[in-house]
Protein backbone atom coordinates (compact mmCIF):
# COMPACT_ATOMS: atom_id res chain seq x y z
CA UNK A 1 0.00 0.00 0.00
CA UNK A 2 2.74 2.38 1.01
CA UNK A 3 4.52 1.77 -2.25
CA UNK A 4 1.37 2.41 -4.23
CA UNK A 5 0.76 5.64 -2.37
CA UNK A 6 4.33 6.78 -2.91
CA UNK A 7 4.09 5.95 -6.58
CA UNK A 8 0.86 7.86 -6.82
CA UNK A 9 2.38 10.91 -5.13
CA UNK A 10 5.45 10.72 -7.33
CA UNK A 11 3.21 10.39 -10.34
CA UNK A 12 1.17 13.39 -9.29
CA UNK A 13 4.31 15.45 -8.72
CA UNK A 14 5.64 14.41 -12.09
CA UNK A 15 2.34 15.25 -13.75
CA UNK A 16 2.38 18.72 -12.17
CA UNK A 17 5.96 19.22 -13.32
CA UNK A 18 5.09 18.21 -16.84
CA UNK A 19 2.05 20.37 -17.04
CA UNK A 20 4.11 23.38 -15.88
CA UNK A 21 6.72 22.42 -18.44
CA UNK A 22 4.02 22.26 -21.08
CA UNK A 23 2.59 25.62 -20.13
CA UNK A 24 5.94 27.36 -20.41
CA UNK A 25 6.57 25.72 -23.75
CA UNK A 26 3.23 26.97 -25.01
CA UNK A 27 3.29 30.43 -23.50
CA UNK A 28 6.43 32.01 -24.84
CA UNK A 29 7.47 35.00 -22.73
CA UNK A 30 7.96 38.13 -24.78
CA UNK A 31 8.39 41.85 -24.20
CA UNK A 32 6.31 44.31 -26.17
CA UNK A 33 7.47 47.91 -26.51
CA UNK A 34 5.16 50.90 -26.66
CA UNK A 35 5.86 54.61 -26.52
CA UNK A 36 3.65 55.64 -23.62
CA UNK A 37 3.22 59.17 -25.00
CA UNK A 38 0.66 58.80 -27.78
CA UNK A 39 -2.83 58.98 -26.33
CA UNK A 40 -5.19 57.28 -26.82
CA UNK A 41 -3.07 54.57 -28.47
CA UNK A 42 -0.69 54.26 -25.55
CA UNK A 43 0.07 56.62 -22.69
CA UNK A 44 1.06 56.73 -19.04
CA UNK A 45 -1.95 57.29 -16.78
CA UNK A 46 -2.06 59.32 -13.57
CA UNK A 47 -1.07 56.21 -11.60
CA UNK A 48 2.11 55.91 -13.68
CA UNK A 49 0.87 52.79 -15.51
CA UNK A 50 0.78 52.24 -19.26
CA UNK A 51 -2.73 52.40 -20.64
CA UNK A 52 -4.56 52.79 -23.94
CA UNK A 53 -5.96 51.06 -27.01
CA UNK A 54 -2.79 49.13 -27.67
CA UNK A 55 -2.43 47.95 -24.07
CA UNK A 56 -5.97 46.51 -24.13
CA UNK A 57 -5.58 45.07 -27.60
CA UNK A 58 -2.07 43.78 -26.83
CA UNK A 59 -3.34 41.81 -23.83
CA UNK A 60 -6.09 40.32 -25.98
CA UNK A 61 -3.77 39.42 -28.86
CA UNK A 62 -1.24 37.85 -26.49
CA UNK A 63 -3.97 35.74 -24.90
CA UNK A 64 -5.07 34.49 -28.32
CA UNK A 65 -1.48 33.88 -29.46
CA UNK A 66 -0.71 32.09 -26.16
CA UNK A 67 2.06 34.51 -25.26
CA UNK A 68 3.10 35.88 -21.88
CA UNK A 69 3.50 39.54 -22.75
CA UNK A 70 5.13 42.23 -20.70
CA UNK A 71 4.68 45.79 -21.95
CA UNK A 72 7.66 48.15 -21.65
CA UNK A 73 7.89 51.87 -22.45
CA UNK A 74 10.48 53.00 -24.98
CA UNK A 75 11.15 56.45 -26.46
CA UNK A 76 9.85 56.65 -30.00
CA UNK A 77 13.09 57.67 -31.69
CA UNK A 78 14.84 54.52 -30.43
CA UNK A 79 11.96 52.12 -30.81
CA UNK A 80 13.21 50.31 -33.92
CA UNK A 81 16.94 50.18 -33.08
CA UNK A 82 16.07 48.67 -29.67
CA UNK A 83 13.90 45.99 -31.33
CA UNK A 84 16.88 45.05 -33.50
CA UNK A 85 19.09 45.06 -30.38
CA UNK A 86 16.66 42.51 -28.83
CA UNK A 87 15.69 44.69 -25.87
CA UNK A 88 12.16 43.46 -26.64
CA UNK A 89 10.47 41.28 -29.22
CA UNK A 90 7.57 43.29 -30.61
CA UNK A 91 6.41 46.88 -31.06
CA UNK A 92 2.83 48.07 -30.61
CA UNK A 93 3.12 51.85 -30.69
CA UNK A 94 0.74 53.25 -33.28
CA UNK A 95 3.38 52.30 -35.84
CA UNK A 96 2.33 52.29 -39.48
CA UNK A 97 3.54 49.79 -42.03
CA UNK A 98 5.79 51.52 -44.56
CA UNK A 99 8.07 50.11 -47.28
CA UNK A 100 11.02 51.94 -45.71
CA UNK A 101 10.46 50.36 -42.29
CA UNK A 102 9.92 46.97 -43.95
CA UNK A 103 13.50 47.10 -45.19
CA UNK A 104 14.52 46.75 -41.55
CA UNK A 105 11.74 44.96 -39.68
CA UNK A 106 8.62 42.93 -40.40
CA UNK A 107 5.00 43.74 -39.68
CA UNK A 108 1.97 41.62 -38.90
CA UNK A 109 -1.38 42.23 -40.52
CA UNK A 110 -2.62 45.73 -39.59
CA UNK A 111 -4.86 46.01 -36.53
CA UNK A 112 -5.98 49.61 -37.05
CA UNK A 113 -6.05 52.26 -39.75
CA UNK A 114 -7.15 55.87 -39.80
CA UNK A 115 -6.59 59.14 -41.63
CA UNK A 116 -3.95 61.81 -40.96
CA UNK A 117 -4.14 65.56 -41.28
CA UNK A 118 -3.46 68.93 -39.69
CA UNK A 119 -4.22 69.96 -36.14
CA UNK A 120 -4.49 73.76 -35.92
CA UNK A 121 -5.70 76.51 -33.63
CA UNK A 122 -9.36 77.41 -34.23
CA UNK A 123 -8.38 81.08 -34.56
CA UNK A 124 -5.77 80.36 -37.24
CA UNK A 125 -6.08 81.39 -40.89
CA UNK A 126 -5.50 77.72 -41.69
CA UNK A 127 -9.06 77.02 -40.57
CA UNK A 128 -10.07 78.19 -44.07
CA UNK A 129 -8.30 75.25 -45.75
CA UNK A 130 -10.76 73.13 -47.77
CA UNK A 131 -11.77 69.75 -46.33
CA UNK A 132 -12.23 66.38 -47.97
CA UNK A 133 -10.85 62.87 -47.77
CA UNK A 134 -8.06 61.53 -49.95
CA UNK A 135 -6.23 58.24 -50.27
CA UNK A 136 -2.63 58.32 -51.46
CA UNK A 137 -2.96 54.65 -52.36
CA UNK A 138 -6.20 54.64 -54.31
CA UNK A 139 -6.12 58.11 -55.90
CA UNK A 140 -2.63 59.57 -55.72
CA UNK A 141 -3.27 62.18 -58.42
CA UNK A 142 -6.39 63.44 -56.65
CA UNK A 143 -4.60 63.57 -53.32
CA UNK A 144 -1.64 65.45 -54.78
CA UNK A 145 -3.98 67.96 -56.41
CA UNK A 146 -5.58 68.56 -53.00
CA UNK A 147 -2.12 69.01 -51.48
CA UNK A 148 -1.24 71.61 -54.16
CA UNK A 149 -4.36 73.54 -53.21
CA UNK A 150 -3.20 73.68 -49.59
CA UNK A 151 0.15 75.26 -50.39
CA UNK A 152 -1.06 78.88 -50.72
CA UNK A 153 -2.56 78.58 -47.22
CA UNK A 154 0.58 77.06 -45.70
CA UNK A 155 3.21 79.24 -47.38
CA UNK A 156 5.67 80.59 -44.79
CA UNK A 157 3.99 78.81 -41.88
CA UNK A 158 5.71 76.54 -39.36
CA UNK A 159 4.67 72.87 -39.29
CA UNK A 160 5.45 70.47 -36.45
CA UNK A 161 5.65 66.68 -36.62
CA UNK A 162 7.08 63.89 -34.53
CA UNK A 163 10.49 62.63 -35.61
CA UNK A 164 10.64 59.36 -37.51
CA UNK A 165 6.92 59.25 -38.31
CA UNK A 166 5.01 58.86 -41.55
CA UNK A 167 3.53 62.29 -40.77
CA UNK A 168 6.98 63.88 -40.91
CA UNK A 169 7.90 62.01 -44.11
CA UNK A 170 4.69 63.17 -45.73
CA UNK A 171 5.22 66.79 -44.65
CA UNK A 172 8.81 66.76 -45.91
CA UNK A 173 7.86 65.19 -49.22
CA UNK A 174 5.09 67.64 -50.08
CA UNK A 175 5.78 70.85 -48.16
CA UNK A 176 9.54 71.20 -48.00
CA UNK A 177 10.47 74.72 -49.10
CA UNK A 178 6.88 75.92 -48.65
CA UNK A 179 6.85 75.71 -44.84
CA UNK A 180 9.40 75.46 -42.06
CA UNK A 181 9.24 71.98 -40.53
CA UNK A 182 10.17 71.38 -36.90
CA UNK A 183 10.74 67.90 -35.51
CA UNK A 184 9.63 66.85 -32.05
CA UNK A 185 10.51 63.86 -29.91
CA UNK A 186 6.91 63.29 -28.81
CA UNK A 187 3.49 64.38 -30.04
CA UNK A 188 2.83 65.85 -26.58
CA UNK A 189 5.65 68.32 -27.16
CA UNK A 190 4.38 69.52 -30.53
CA UNK A 191 0.88 69.85 -29.07
CA UNK A 192 2.29 72.20 -26.41
CA UNK A 193 4.03 74.26 -29.09
CA UNK A 194 0.86 74.44 -31.16
CA UNK A 195 -1.03 75.70 -28.10
CA UNK A 196 1.73 78.26 -27.50
CA UNK A 197 1.61 79.39 -31.11
CA UNK A 198 5.22 78.45 -31.88
CA UNK A 199 4.01 76.27 -34.75
CA UNK A 200 0.97 77.01 -36.93
CA UNK A 201 -0.07 73.39 -37.43
CA UNK A 202 1.06 69.89 -36.56
CA UNK A 203 0.73 66.87 -38.83
CA UNK A 204 -0.82 63.99 -36.89
CA UNK A 205 -3.12 61.00 -37.10
CA UNK A 206 -6.69 62.20 -36.61
CA UNK A 207 -7.07 59.69 -33.76
CA UNK A 208 -4.29 61.40 -31.80
CA UNK A 209 -5.53 64.86 -32.83
CA UNK A 210 -8.95 64.12 -31.34
CA UNK A 211 -7.39 63.00 -28.06
CA UNK A 212 -5.45 66.27 -27.92
CA UNK A 213 -8.60 68.31 -28.63
CA UNK A 214 -10.33 66.56 -25.71
CA UNK A 215 -7.50 67.42 -23.33
CA UNK A 216 -6.89 70.74 -21.56
CA UNK A 217 -4.05 71.78 -23.86
CA UNK A 218 -6.22 71.29 -26.96
CA UNK A 219 -9.32 73.25 -26.03
CA UNK A 220 -8.69 75.89 -28.73
CA UNK A 221 -7.63 73.39 -31.38
CA UNK A 222 -9.41 71.88 -34.36
CA UNK A 223 -8.65 69.62 -37.28
CA UNK A 224 -7.99 71.76 -40.36
CA UNK A 225 -7.92 70.84 -44.02
CA UNK A 226 -8.48 67.46 -45.64
CA UNK A 227 -7.85 63.96 -44.28
CA UNK A 228 -5.17 61.91 -45.98
CA UNK A 229 -4.39 58.20 -45.72
CA UNK A 230 -2.39 55.45 -47.40
CA UNK A 231 0.76 55.76 -49.50
CA UNK A 232 3.70 57.22 -47.60
CA UNK A 233 1.36 57.90 -44.68
CA UNK A 234 1.42 54.16 -44.08
CA UNK A 235 -0.60 51.08 -44.83
CA UNK A 236 -2.15 50.61 -41.41
CA UNK A 237 -0.92 50.21 -37.85
CA UNK A 238 0.57 46.80 -37.11
CA UNK A 239 2.78 44.88 -34.69
CA UNK A 240 6.45 45.35 -35.55
CA UNK A 241 8.61 42.23 -35.30
CA UNK A 242 12.20 41.28 -36.12
CA UNK A 243 12.54 39.82 -39.62
CA UNK A 244 13.78 36.43 -38.47
CA UNK A 245 11.00 35.98 -35.90
CA UNK A 246 8.54 34.20 -38.21
CA UNK A 247 6.82 32.15 -35.48
CA UNK A 248 5.92 35.30 -33.59
CA UNK A 249 4.63 36.96 -36.76
CA UNK A 250 2.45 33.94 -37.54
CA UNK A 251 1.06 33.87 -34.00
CA UNK A 252 0.24 37.60 -34.02
CA UNK A 253 -1.17 37.44 -37.58
CA UNK A 254 -3.66 34.78 -36.54
CA UNK A 255 -4.57 36.69 -33.37
CA UNK A 256 -5.11 39.96 -35.27
CA UNK A 257 -7.24 38.19 -37.87
CA UNK A 258 -9.48 36.60 -35.24
CA UNK A 259 -9.76 39.86 -33.26
CA UNK A 260 -10.90 41.64 -36.44
CA UNK A 261 -13.29 38.83 -37.36
CA UNK A 262 -15.11 38.66 -34.03
CA UNK A 263 -15.37 42.45 -33.62
CA UNK A 264 -12.98 42.75 -30.67
CA UNK A 265 -10.96 45.42 -32.48
CA UNK A 266 -14.11 47.35 -33.32
CA UNK A 267 -15.21 47.27 -29.66
CA UNK A 268 -11.82 48.44 -28.38
CA UNK A 269 -11.61 51.06 -31.10
CA UNK A 270 -15.01 52.48 -30.14
CA UNK A 271 -13.91 52.50 -26.49
CA UNK A 272 -10.67 54.43 -27.11
CA UNK A 273 -11.19 56.39 -30.35
CA UNK A 274 -15.02 56.76 -30.39
CA UNK A 275 -14.80 55.70 -34.06
CA UNK A 276 -14.21 52.36 -35.76
CA UNK A 277 -10.57 52.11 -36.81
CA UNK A 278 -10.76 48.47 -37.94
CA UNK A 279 -8.61 48.17 -41.08
CA UNK A 280 -10.64 47.61 -44.25
CA UNK A 281 -9.22 44.70 -46.17
Amino acid sequence: MKLIRLTAIAGAVLAVCFSIGDASAQNRKIKVATEGAYAPWNFVNSAGKLEGFELDLGAELCKRAKLDCEFVAQDWDGIMPSLLAKKYDAIMAGMNITPKRMETINFTAPYAAGPHGFLILKSSSLAKMPGGEYSLTKDLAGAEKAIEELKPFLKGKVLGAQVSTTNLNWAEKYFKGVVEIREYKTTEQHDLDLAAGRVDAVVVAHSAAKATMDSAVGKDMAIGGPAFSGGILGLGVAVGIRKEDNDLKAAFDAAVKSAIADGTIKTLSMKWFKIDMTPKS
Binding site: G78, K185, L192, A195, G197
Partner: protein
Protein backbone atom coordinates in the same frame (compact mmCIF):
# COMPACT_ATOMS: atom_id res chain seq x y z
CA UNK B 1 30.61 48.27 -38.44
CA UNK B 2 29.88 49.68 -41.89
CA UNK B 3 32.68 52.15 -42.67
CA UNK B 4 31.08 53.62 -45.79
CA UNK B 5 27.97 54.45 -43.80
CA UNK B 6 30.11 55.81 -40.96
CA UNK B 7 31.89 58.15 -43.39
CA UNK B 8 28.61 59.34 -44.94
CA UNK B 9 27.15 59.96 -41.50
CA UNK B 10 30.22 61.88 -40.41
CA UNK B 11 29.94 64.20 -43.40
CA UNK B 12 26.23 64.78 -42.83
CA UNK B 13 26.76 65.55 -39.15
CA UNK B 14 29.49 68.09 -39.99
CA UNK B 15 26.74 70.44 -41.18
CA UNK B 16 25.54 70.70 -37.59
CA UNK B 17 28.87 72.02 -36.28
CA UNK B 18 28.25 75.73 -37.07
CA UNK B 19 25.05 75.72 -35.02
CA UNK B 20 26.70 73.80 -32.15
CA UNK B 21 29.62 76.25 -32.04
CA UNK B 22 27.34 79.28 -32.40
CA UNK B 23 25.26 78.17 -29.44
CA UNK B 24 28.31 77.29 -27.34
CA UNK B 25 30.31 80.45 -28.00
CA UNK B 26 27.38 82.87 -27.80
CA UNK B 27 26.29 81.42 -24.48
CA UNK B 28 29.84 81.36 -23.09
CA UNK B 29 30.41 84.93 -24.32
CA UNK B 30 27.20 86.29 -22.81
CA UNK B 31 27.61 84.01 -19.79
CA UNK B 32 31.03 85.38 -18.86
CA UNK B 33 29.71 88.94 -18.75
CA UNK B 34 26.93 87.81 -16.44
CA UNK B 35 29.38 85.68 -14.44
CA UNK B 36 31.69 88.62 -13.71
CA UNK B 37 28.71 90.75 -12.71
CA UNK B 38 27.44 87.99 -10.42
CA UNK B 39 30.90 87.44 -8.90
CA UNK B 40 31.18 91.15 -8.11
CA UNK B 41 27.69 91.04 -6.60
CA UNK B 42 28.72 88.07 -4.46
CA UNK B 43 31.47 90.27 -2.99
CA UNK B 44 29.38 93.43 -2.78
CA UNK B 45 29.06 95.18 0.57
CA UNK B 46 25.39 95.90 -0.18
CA UNK B 47 23.96 92.61 1.12
CA UNK B 48 20.76 92.20 -0.99
CA UNK B 49 22.94 92.12 -4.13
CA UNK B 50 24.93 89.27 -2.61
CA UNK B 51 21.76 87.45 -1.65
CA UNK B 52 20.40 87.75 -5.18
CA UNK B 53 23.64 86.41 -6.70
CA UNK B 54 23.73 83.61 -4.13
CA UNK B 55 20.16 82.58 -4.95
CA UNK B 56 20.85 82.73 -8.70
CA UNK B 57 23.90 80.50 -8.43
CA UNK B 58 22.07 78.15 -6.06
CA UNK B 59 19.12 77.68 -8.42
CA UNK B 60 21.00 77.38 -11.72
CA UNK B 61 23.76 75.18 -10.36
CA UNK B 62 21.39 73.02 -8.35
CA UNK B 63 18.95 72.05 -11.12
CA UNK B 64 19.63 70.06 -14.30
CA UNK B 65 20.15 72.08 -17.46
CA UNK B 66 17.55 69.93 -19.23
CA UNK B 67 14.94 70.93 -16.66
CA UNK B 68 15.87 74.60 -17.04
CA UNK B 69 15.59 74.27 -20.81
CA UNK B 70 12.14 72.68 -20.60
CA UNK B 71 10.97 75.25 -18.05
CA UNK B 72 12.05 78.12 -20.26
CA UNK B 73 10.78 76.60 -23.51
CA UNK B 74 7.64 74.59 -22.71
CA UNK B 75 6.98 76.20 -19.32
CA UNK B 76 7.05 79.83 -20.42
CA UNK B 77 5.31 78.82 -23.65
CA UNK B 78 2.15 78.51 -21.57
CA UNK B 79 2.31 82.17 -20.56
CA UNK B 80 2.08 83.46 -24.10
CA UNK B 81 -0.57 86.17 -23.49
CA UNK B 82 1.41 87.65 -20.58
CA UNK B 83 4.67 87.51 -22.52
CA UNK B 84 2.98 89.11 -25.53
CA UNK B 85 1.77 91.93 -23.33
CA UNK B 86 5.31 92.50 -22.11
CA UNK B 87 6.54 92.41 -25.71
CA UNK B 88 8.81 89.44 -24.99
CA UNK B 89 7.03 86.75 -26.98
CA UNK B 90 9.19 87.15 -30.14
CA UNK B 91 12.11 86.04 -27.97
CA UNK B 92 10.46 83.07 -26.28
CA UNK B 93 8.72 81.96 -29.46
CA UNK B 94 12.05 81.03 -31.05
CA UNK B 95 13.59 77.74 -29.93
CA UNK B 96 17.07 79.13 -30.61
CA UNK B 97 16.70 82.06 -28.19
CA UNK B 98 15.25 79.78 -25.50
CA UNK B 99 18.21 77.44 -25.82
CA UNK B 100 20.64 80.37 -25.79
CA UNK B 101 19.00 81.80 -22.67
CA UNK B 102 19.07 78.50 -20.76
CA UNK B 103 22.69 77.82 -21.69
CA UNK B 104 23.73 81.40 -20.83
CA UNK B 105 22.06 81.46 -17.40
CA UNK B 106 23.48 78.02 -16.59
CA UNK B 107 27.05 78.84 -17.53
CA UNK B 108 26.78 82.23 -15.78
CA UNK B 109 26.05 80.44 -12.50
CA UNK B 110 29.08 78.16 -12.80
CA UNK B 111 31.21 80.99 -14.17
CA UNK B 112 30.32 83.23 -11.22
CA UNK B 113 31.78 80.69 -8.83
CA UNK B 114 34.93 80.30 -10.94
CA UNK B 115 35.43 84.06 -11.10
CA UNK B 116 34.75 84.40 -7.38
CA UNK B 117 37.41 81.75 -6.70
CA UNK B 118 39.84 83.63 -8.90
CA UNK B 119 39.14 86.92 -7.10
CA UNK B 120 39.56 85.28 -3.71
CA UNK B 121 42.91 83.81 -4.70
CA UNK B 122 44.43 87.28 -5.02
CA UNK B 123 46.74 87.51 -1.99
CA UNK B 124 45.73 90.20 0.51
CA UNK B 125 49.37 91.34 0.64
CA UNK B 126 49.33 92.28 -3.03
CA UNK B 127 46.23 94.39 -2.56
CA UNK B 128 47.70 96.06 0.50
CA UNK B 129 50.89 96.80 -1.41
CA UNK B 130 48.89 98.29 -4.26
CA UNK B 131 46.95 100.47 -1.85
CA UNK B 132 50.25 101.58 -0.29
CA UNK B 133 51.19 102.75 -3.80
CA UNK B 134 48.03 104.82 -3.86
CA UNK B 135 46.01 102.60 -6.23
CA UNK B 136 42.34 102.29 -5.57
CA UNK B 137 39.07 101.21 -7.17
CA UNK B 138 39.26 100.61 -10.89
CA UNK B 139 43.03 100.97 -11.18
CA UNK B 140 43.54 98.41 -8.44
CA UNK B 141 41.25 95.96 -10.23
CA UNK B 142 42.75 96.57 -13.63
CA UNK B 143 46.40 96.39 -12.62
CA UNK B 144 46.47 93.90 -9.77
CA UNK B 145 43.26 91.98 -9.04
CA UNK B 146 42.04 91.17 -12.57
CA UNK B 147 45.36 89.86 -13.97
CA UNK B 148 45.98 87.62 -10.97
CA UNK B 149 42.38 86.40 -10.81
CA UNK B 150 42.32 85.69 -14.54
CA UNK B 151 45.44 83.55 -14.32
CA UNK B 152 43.88 81.55 -11.52
CA UNK B 153 40.46 81.24 -13.13
CA UNK B 154 41.38 80.40 -16.71
CA UNK B 155 42.04 76.65 -16.32
CA UNK B 156 38.69 76.16 -14.59
CA UNK B 157 36.98 78.38 -17.14
CA UNK B 158 38.44 76.28 -19.94
CA UNK B 159 36.78 73.30 -18.37
CA UNK B 160 33.48 75.17 -18.33
CA UNK B 161 33.77 76.01 -22.04
CA UNK B 162 34.23 72.33 -22.87
CA UNK B 163 31.24 71.43 -20.71
CA UNK B 164 29.17 74.02 -22.56
CA UNK B 165 30.09 72.63 -25.97
CA UNK B 166 28.79 69.27 -24.82
CA UNK B 167 25.74 70.86 -23.16
CA UNK B 168 24.56 72.31 -26.49
CA UNK B 169 23.51 68.76 -27.38
CA UNK B 170 20.51 69.27 -25.08
CA UNK B 171 19.21 71.96 -27.45
CA UNK B 172 18.20 69.11 -29.75
CA UNK B 173 15.36 68.36 -27.32
CA UNK B 174 13.65 71.62 -28.31
CA UNK B 175 13.76 71.05 -32.08
CA UNK B 176 17.20 72.58 -32.72
CA UNK B 177 19.12 70.66 -35.36
CA UNK B 178 22.68 70.90 -34.14
CA UNK B 179 25.02 67.89 -34.23
CA UNK B 180 22.99 65.75 -31.82
CA UNK B 181 19.68 66.80 -33.39
CA UNK B 182 20.96 65.74 -36.80
CA UNK B 183 22.22 62.48 -35.29
CA UNK B 184 18.76 61.68 -33.92
CA UNK B 185 17.22 62.44 -37.28
CA UNK B 186 19.71 60.18 -39.06
CA UNK B 187 19.01 57.35 -36.62
CA UNK B 188 15.31 57.69 -37.20
CA UNK B 189 15.91 57.45 -40.94
CA UNK B 190 18.34 54.55 -40.87
CA UNK B 191 17.67 52.86 -37.50
CA UNK B 192 21.41 52.48 -37.00
CA UNK B 193 22.30 54.10 -33.72
CA UNK B 194 25.82 52.77 -33.23
CA UNK B 195 27.48 54.28 -36.29
CA UNK B 196 25.58 57.56 -35.97
CA UNK B 197 26.41 58.16 -32.30
CA UNK B 198 29.97 57.02 -32.95
CA UNK B 199 30.32 59.71 -35.63
CA UNK B 200 28.63 62.31 -33.40
CA UNK B 201 30.97 61.45 -30.53
CA UNK B 202 33.99 61.79 -32.84
CA UNK B 203 32.82 65.25 -33.92
CA UNK B 204 32.50 66.49 -30.33
CA UNK B 205 35.91 65.01 -29.59
CA UNK B 206 37.54 66.83 -32.50
CA UNK B 207 35.88 70.14 -31.63
CA UNK B 208 36.87 69.83 -27.99
CA UNK B 209 40.41 68.88 -28.93
CA UNK B 210 40.73 72.13 -30.87
CA UNK B 211 39.19 74.09 -28.02
CA UNK B 212 41.52 72.60 -25.38
CA UNK B 213 44.50 73.56 -27.54
CA UNK B 214 43.21 77.13 -27.82
CA UNK B 215 42.67 77.32 -24.08
CA UNK B 216 46.16 76.01 -23.47
CA UNK B 217 47.58 78.68 -25.77
CA UNK B 218 45.63 81.35 -23.90
CA UNK B 219 46.90 80.04 -20.58
CA UNK B 220 50.42 80.08 -21.90
CA UNK B 221 50.10 83.67 -23.04
CA UNK B 222 48.60 84.93 -19.82
CA UNK B 223 50.76 82.91 -17.45
CA UNK B 224 53.88 81.70 -19.28
CA UNK B 225 55.67 81.20 -15.99
CA UNK B 226 52.99 78.80 -14.69
CA UNK B 227 52.76 76.68 -17.85
CA UNK B 228 56.55 76.72 -18.17
CA UNK B 229 56.92 75.55 -14.58
CA UNK B 230 54.46 72.73 -15.35
CA UNK B 231 56.45 71.63 -18.34
CA UNK B 232 59.81 71.69 -16.57
CA UNK B 233 58.24 69.74 -13.73
CA UNK B 234 57.15 67.16 -16.28
CA UNK B 235 60.65 66.96 -17.71
CA UNK B 236 62.28 66.25 -14.36
Amino acid sequence: MDFDFLGETFVRLLSGIPLTLELAFSSVGLGIVLAVALALMLRARFLPLGWFADAFVFVFRGTPLLVQLFLIYYGLGQFRPELQEMGLWWFFRAPYYCALLALTLNTAAYGAEIVRGGLQSVPAGQIEAARAFGMSGFTLYRRIVAPIALRQALPAYGNEIILMIKATSLASTITIMEVTGLAHKLISETFRSFEVFFAAGAIYLIVNFAVTRLIWLAEHRIAPDLTLAERTAELH
